[in-house]
């Protein structure tokens, strides 16, 4: 039975109580502890910087050439905080409620409440660091509304909020590096986790420039390595984003929770060619002012501006009159897919819907639209060559975020003692669907506030024996890592890592994407082992492992995606309900909305690795709702 270590007592006091009950490490002793943070995105950089400020000896790892490149840099829309600066009825409780409901009742009340509470401190912290959030003329912070909620609680820095928040954390991290508390290991990829005596005591890394395989010892290890949307090959994630760190941890015994909960974002630029290497997201904030529609007629190829008003179907406004274009992402995405499946999609491949600003321009004028969305319109024009001030944008859903991740308890510690997981890499707060502008909030809550409180408690309450890299567990793990890389290099087959990745992605998108059925999942599960086998027999690589070898890096990551994909399908198949982003064709309401099955599935599915050719074992963490009433989600 999984113990999530949720403190007792009323919801509002749980974190307070937990913090009081936790043990502390005295300032003089802190520098005796070594903490490894893998990942320097929002979650990793903020954790490493804060632990450094406290005086711990921190080693931070990233495969990028500098922490500022982490995928968090790409987040556009904003970050939520229950400040209620607008006096529009917001509160910590409402943010908590919205997040639970948005996640379709598949997250923990206690975690989510804490997240909502900490949202207040995050904004304070970021402003103090100099993050240039948008301001009103009076000098106060500006906010806007964002997908799925009715209050304006999203703070933003033009369309580059993630960049500005990451730079804030990056700068704090650089300050600690200069102060000598944090040692940064850039261009260094973690490839394995090392356990000694049942505790996580270090990692194995590969230096991406020299290929050197090294061991690093620590008293606690944090994984903040981001999400795994790239299992779909085409996603909005950065090209290098991958699952290797968490997957290798999984193979060492860490539980993987809700792997099938993956989010598809509604407002992306449709795929245009076979060679497409990634999909570009356009901020969801576009839906605040843009209206989504398709022609009523099938196969209508007239230019959009020639289609008269009464021949347009504003399908989101029609289906969800109360929320209109602002319904949560899963509903917006699925609705778009459905109209395209009906043959009413627009654009070259019929895989797109219009996002129209004509009304907004009429209402606010071009200038105001430009002020609000100018950079997104420019980006759209760069990619498509179309002017969205004149013709409606075309959008289509794309894989974007993974709610699933390594299982963690309230302390953000996995089931492996000493292994903490933060940011998108853990499964913690978003249930089956994440609301807009809350990933940044979660990453920073984890990094600035939660880990710096819970890791000291772990260090203070456990007596950790000194270990060194000469311990056999390290040499063995090193040998295994080296062997796996050598194996990849020795195949000398004919297919590139990308071609396998592409095929995997297409398979997952078709069979385990926006909608899933028992049949599609079974098909995927039949195909995956074949694909994996072909990968290990027919992979083409050149060069050696002792140099910068980008194809080797890619192949190594794809090899993990190929395994993770199977777990995702197993999880999706076992969850015979629809909830949030997980939409099983078999489980819908009469009006085709997701139908949950709380009787059977109101739990977190945490999977345990049982070996390469054995089925993983399912552990269930039941979810109980004491404060929010379990209801069928409705945005009608």
């Amino acid at each position: 039975m999984l113990d999530a270590r949720i403190p007792s007592g009323p919801l509002e006091q749980k974190w307070e109580k937990c913090r009081f009950e936790m043990q502390l490490v005295s300032p003089a002793n802190r520098r005796k502890y070594t903490i490894i943070v893998v990942g320097a995105g929002l979650a990793g950089a903020s954790a490493a910087a804060t632990l450094g400020q406290q005086g711990y000896r921190v080693h931070c790892f990233s495969y990028h050439d500098t922490p500022r490149r982490a995928h968090s840099i790409a987040a556009q829309g904003g970050i939520n905080a229950a400040k209620n600066y607008r006096n529009d009825g917001d509160s910590v409780y409402r943010l908590f409620y919205d997040t639970i409901k948005g996640g379709d009742f598949r997250s923990r009340e206690a975690n989510v409440y804490r997240l909502a509470e900490l949202s207040l401190n995050i904004i304070d912290q970021c402003v103090a660091q100099g993050v240039p959030f948008a301001r009103e003329y009076g000098g106060l912070l500006d906010t806007r509304s964002f997908g799925g909620v009715q209050v304006q609680r999203t703070f933003y820095a033009r369309g580059q909020t993630g960049q500005q928040l990451l730079l804030g954390a990056y700068q704090a991290l650089q300050e600690q590096i200069a102060a000598g508390t944090v040692t940064m290991h850039t261009r260094t990829e973690m490839l394995d986790l090392v356990l000694i005596g049942g505790r996580v005591r270090g990692i194995i890394t590969r230096d991406l420039l020299t290929g050197a395989i090294d061991a690093h010892v620590a008293d606690a290890v944090v994984l903040a390595t981001g999400g795994y949307s790239n299992v779909f090959y085409l996603s909005t994630n950065a090209k290098a984003s991958n699952c290797t760190a968490i997957w290798r941890a999984y193979r060492r015994g860490a539980l993987f929770a809700n792997p099938c909960f993956t989010q598809i974002h509604p407002t992306c630029i449709p795929q245009s060619s076979e060679h497409q290497s990634k999909l570009t997201l356009m901020s969801e904030s576009l839906r605040n002012d843009g209206r989504v529609w398709v022609p009523k007629k099938k196969g209508d190829t007239r230019p959009p501006n020639d289609i008269p008003e009464d021949e347009r179907d504003y399908f989101l406004e029609r289906r969800y009159p109360r929320f209109g274009n602002l319904v949560p992402r899963d509903l917006a995405s699925r609705a778009a897919k459905e109209v395209c499946d009906e043959g009413r999609g627009v654009g070259p491949q019929g895989r797109g819907v219009y996002l129209d600003f004509a009304d907004a321009i009429k209402r606010m004028g071009v200038e105001e639209v430009r002020e609000k969305y100018g950079n997104i319109f420019d980006m759209y024009e760069k990619i498509t060559g179309e002017d969205a001030y004149k013709v409606p944008m075309r959008i289509y859903p794309a894989p974007h975020y993974t709610m699933g991740g390594l299982w963690v308890d309230y302390h953000l510690m996995s089931n492996l003692p000493g292994l903490f997981v933060a940011g998108e890499a853990n499964f913690s707060d978003h249930g089956a669907n994440r609301l807009g502008a809350s990933a940044l909030m979660q990453g920073l809550a984890d990094g600035y506030f939660i880990l710096p409180a819970t890791i000291p408690n772990y260090l203070a309450t456990n007596s950790l024996e000194p270990v060194s890299v000469s311990h056999p567990a390290f040499s063995q793990a090193k040998a295994e890592v080296a062997e796996r890389l050598q194996k990849l290099l020795k195949i000398r087959g004919r297919r590139s890592p990308d071609s396998f990745h592409r095929e995997l992605g297409k398979l997952m998108w078709d069979k385990c994407g926006m909608t899933r059925s028992a049949q599609s999942l079974r098909e995927a599960l039949a195909r995956l082992p074949e694909l994996r086998q072909e990968f290990w027999e027919n992979l083409a690589l050149v060069g050696t492992g002792e140099e910068l070898n980008q194809s080797l890096e890619k192949a190594n990551r794809v090899s993990d995606f190929l395994e993770l994909a199977e777990l995702m399908c197993i999880d999706a198949l076992h969850r015979e309900e629809s909830c949030g982003c997980h939409f099983r064709i078999e489980s819908q309401t009469p009006d085709e909305e997701a139908k949950r099955d709380d009787e059977r599935f109101c739990y977190v599915a945490a999977w345990e690795w049982k070996g390469p050719d054995r089925a993983p074992e399912l552990h269930k963490e039941p979810l109980t709702f004491e404060y929010v009433h379990l209801t069928q989600r409705s945005y009608k």
């Binding site: 500098t66 304070d124 650089q174 300050e175 690589l541």
Partner: protein
Amino acid sequence: MKFTLRIWRQKSREAPGKFVTYQVDGITPDMSFLEMLDVLNEELLARGEDPVAFEHDCREGICGSCGFLINGLAHGGRRGTTVCQLSMRFFKDGETLTLEPWRARAFPVVRDLIVDRSAFDRIIQAGGFISAPVGSAPDANAILVPKDIADTAFEAAACIGCGACVAACPNASAMLFTAAKLVHLNVLPQGQPQRYQRTLNMVAAMEAEGFGSCTNHGECAAVCPKEIPLEFIGRMNRDLRRAIFRRRFERWRDATQ
């Protein structure tokens, strides 16, 4: 579309490099520049040759990973655009494209088109931050920031650290990068206490990295994918001037008190 590519190939920092010519065919106008290189690399891999190493990640112009010279122009020379945002429809069918890495003593070549830009991190380490340990922050709205100041700070903070400014500068100077961070932090009320020390430290760090000396050509701002204005260099110069003389004034004041 067809292209002839002349690409700088260099195995490692120490190894000698040279241009190698490749042909690519079957490129469509809606492909991005990096997708075109993907196609080339797939072909090279199929032939058992080393793929071209180039850095990239977000492929949407925000992470700052990508960057090299195309026909003598950093990021290809289109206004406000990174290499990854270039689409092949901007190029002429049959054109010869020369790809060369950023060249600067402070940016040694790592491999092919990849250079080591860690000098930028060290400049930030010297003072590119506001010291605000977690836990110490006042309420976010307790600090008022006039909108124009917030806008200027944002404009400066938009820098993605790609290094195109250094690459395009005939002097291989890092003034625009350093100025962008200084302006971001130095205009904000939160940044005032450390303003002049920050300026002195970051400028010293920049100089220690072996970048060249600015002669105000303006090439940096012209290729900057985030269009950071040259004017920010002027602001940095002013802050440095004040920092130098203000320090003396303060010392004199302390001594006479």
